[in-house]
Amino acid sequence: MLHYTIRRLLISIPTLLFISLVIFLLLDLAPGDPMASIPLTVPPEVKEKMREALGLGEPVHIRFLNWMYQFFVVEPQVLIDHIFGTGFAEGKQRIISFQSRSPVMAVVAERMPQTLWVVGLSYIFATLIAVPIGIVSAYRQYSWFDQLGTFISMIGFSIPTFFSGVLLIVVFSVILGWFPSIYDTTLEVTDWSSFLQQVKQMAMPVFVLTLYNAAQVSRFMRASMLDNLNQDYVRTARAKGMSERVVVLMHVLRNSMIPVVTVIALGVPNIFGGAIITEQVFQVNGLGQMLITAIYASDAPMVQTLTFIFAVLIVLFNLIADILYGILDPRIRYD
């Protein structure tokens, strides 16, 4: 297993390098100009100077290698400096956002907590809710509980978050006025009332994302349980006189979790990238919203860096899913 993990990690290096190249070239080919929002009164030759100042005058391969050097060497050095108080990165050029002219990684670090809180929490909720629902739905197939659960998960699965989000805003913010429609990032939790405020502003985005994720996971869980409930080994367990609890929660669940854990692990990168639209709807200024604004502003370093971080997460969680698969299913051996 260790060998396998190391091999997979090594293989992922060329994969990621290739991904970063593709992202870079795509962004370079895409139309858009970081100077587009500069007033027309600024003469073209000044604009050209500004472009050159951003490093856009260099040829493509130099810019790509520059970005690589900055991302893989300078930024880690900055991180080390930050933690240990050393001075490796002093005087070196970091990846700079075209919009704000501040280091991209600093902005990322600033935006990360909002995303993790809202989207991460909803993912945890979704998993905690969906797994038991899937188990009961499958065990009591076609009961009213199953019918209701399947119906709700169909709704959650088929209604996009930008619709359910707006609907919730209309009902609970505009009509009822229970929750704020805009997420206030500057709010600091210091006492009970500000905590309540925080809970209130998180409630709707978390609910929308939880519904969507739980719908997916519970369907997977149900299908996987149903697959396994009809297996011969279940009959064997019953023939051994095991109680239904043991039959379902030990024998069947352990087998059913194998594909579901994979699905859950593969969904984790979505926490960072997939909630872009929901963050936009609720004005949560997390990573997703940052990516959207950066795209509008043709902020290539920002888009490049964020997209690449998502790519790393996806590759990483694919590996984690594979490793979990090997741990859960003894029939799978990777060496």
Partner: protein, 348 residues
């Protein structure tokens, strides 16, 4: 085995009906039989004749709904299994009645070690702690002839061959020294040499442990080799019941006769064509009101379509559910008498 000994299992008038949206299916119809201590009762019949469903019904292994199991009683050591609660049944299954199923490839849980799966019933039914259960599990694996038992406890089912897995299944079934072992086509999924090994093993185990065995199969050769008594099932009913020699020498039901004919002989001239029984076994939508074999029976006469034949006793522990008497080569007198009576009633 003494003929007079009280049966360990006595089944009276067992009926299983599957209620589905498409209508009901009568899978087991008034099945009665008994099992004496230490004997091996063979149950034969083609696929869908209700062999497995009968055995699984009486111990509550058929999910209900859709199944409905009724009957006059299934007496197992003074307990009526049909009236027993789920908990009572659970304490009997795996402890006093062991099961071996058809396909050893899928009957073991792939994610648990073999040792864990053998120790599970030991810990539940015998209240053993981990250490005692492990010791007993090693003994059991040795008993069923798995070499290097101690080490193999840690292995997963996929690390065993088909024959070895079936040995593990037998070890699980025997874990708590059951009085009855129900083996549901235990050798069907195995190739012939492994089949022979498993049969040999069963012979040995029966001598050593002395439990009664119900052996479900569609292989008459297997039955001839190991059974003491045989039940022949068709359409969810027992159509013939006899000691094994008597059955093979004097089959008294057309279905049994047809079954025996379908077995090709390895000696003598090769036959032109293999014998078959034409047609399909019935799917009963209602309780049988005529002989369910009549549509495929060369001996069927008019009365067979009007009444479901009861099991006629023909002596020497032999009975057959057929109106045709092969001894006289004519319909049974009781049947003709009844037929005449009916005719008279109709005329009157």
């Amino acid at each position: 085995m003494a003929d007079g000994a009280a049966p360990v299992l006595d089944v009276r008038d067992l009926k299983t009906v599957f209620k589905t949206r498409a209508g009901s299916v009568h899978a087991v119809n008034s099945v009665s039989f008994s099992l004496k201590p230490g004997e091996l009762l063979g149950v034969v019949g083609e696929s869908g004749s209700g062999k497995s469903v009968t055995m699984m019904s009486l111990i509550g292994l058929i999910p209900s709904p859709p199944a409905q199991v009724t009957g006059d009683g299934v007496n197992f050591g003074g307990i009526d299994l049909l009236k027993a609660s789920d908990d009572e049944l659970r304490s009997i299954r795996g402890a006093r009645i062991g099961f071996v199923f058809q396909d050893p490839m899928t009957s073991l849980n792939p994610v648990f070690t073999v040792g864990y799966q053998i120790m599970e019933p030991l810990r539940k039914h015998m209240g053993m702690d981990k250490r005692a259960a492990r010791k007993r599990a090693v003994e059991l694996l040795e008993l069923v002839g798995i070499p290097d038992a101690e080490r193999r406890l840690k292995d997963f089912p996929h690390q065993f061959s088909g024959g070895m897995r079936q040995r593990v299944m037998i070890a699980i079934a025997l874990a708590c020294d059951p009085e009855v072992l129900i083996a549901d086509e235990p050798t069907t999924a195995l190739d012939v040499t492994i089949q022979a090994q498993i049969l040999e093993l069963m012979h040995e185990l029966r001598e050593k442990l002395g439990m009664a065995v119900i052996w479900i199969t569609h292989d008459l050769g297997v039955i001839a080799g190991i059974a003491d008594r045989v039940l022949v099932m068709y359409g969810g009913q027992i159509v013939e019941h006899a000691p094994v020699r008597e059955l093979f020498k004097h089959p008294r039901h057309p279905y049994t006769r047809a079954l025996l004919k379908t077995v090709p002989s390895v000696r003598g001239e090769r036959e032109e064509r293999l014998e078959v029984i034409e047609g399909q076994p019935p799917i009963l939508r209602a309780e049988p009101s005529s002989c369910s074999f009549a549509p495929r029976c060369p001996f069927a006469f008019e009365h067979c379509l009007r009444e479901n034949p009861p099991r006629f006793d023909i002596g020497a522990g032999h009975d057959a559910a057929c109106f045709y008497d092969f001894e006289t080569g004519a319909p049974r007198s009781s049947a003709t008498a009844m037929a005449k009576e009916e005719a008279q009633l109709d005329a009157g």
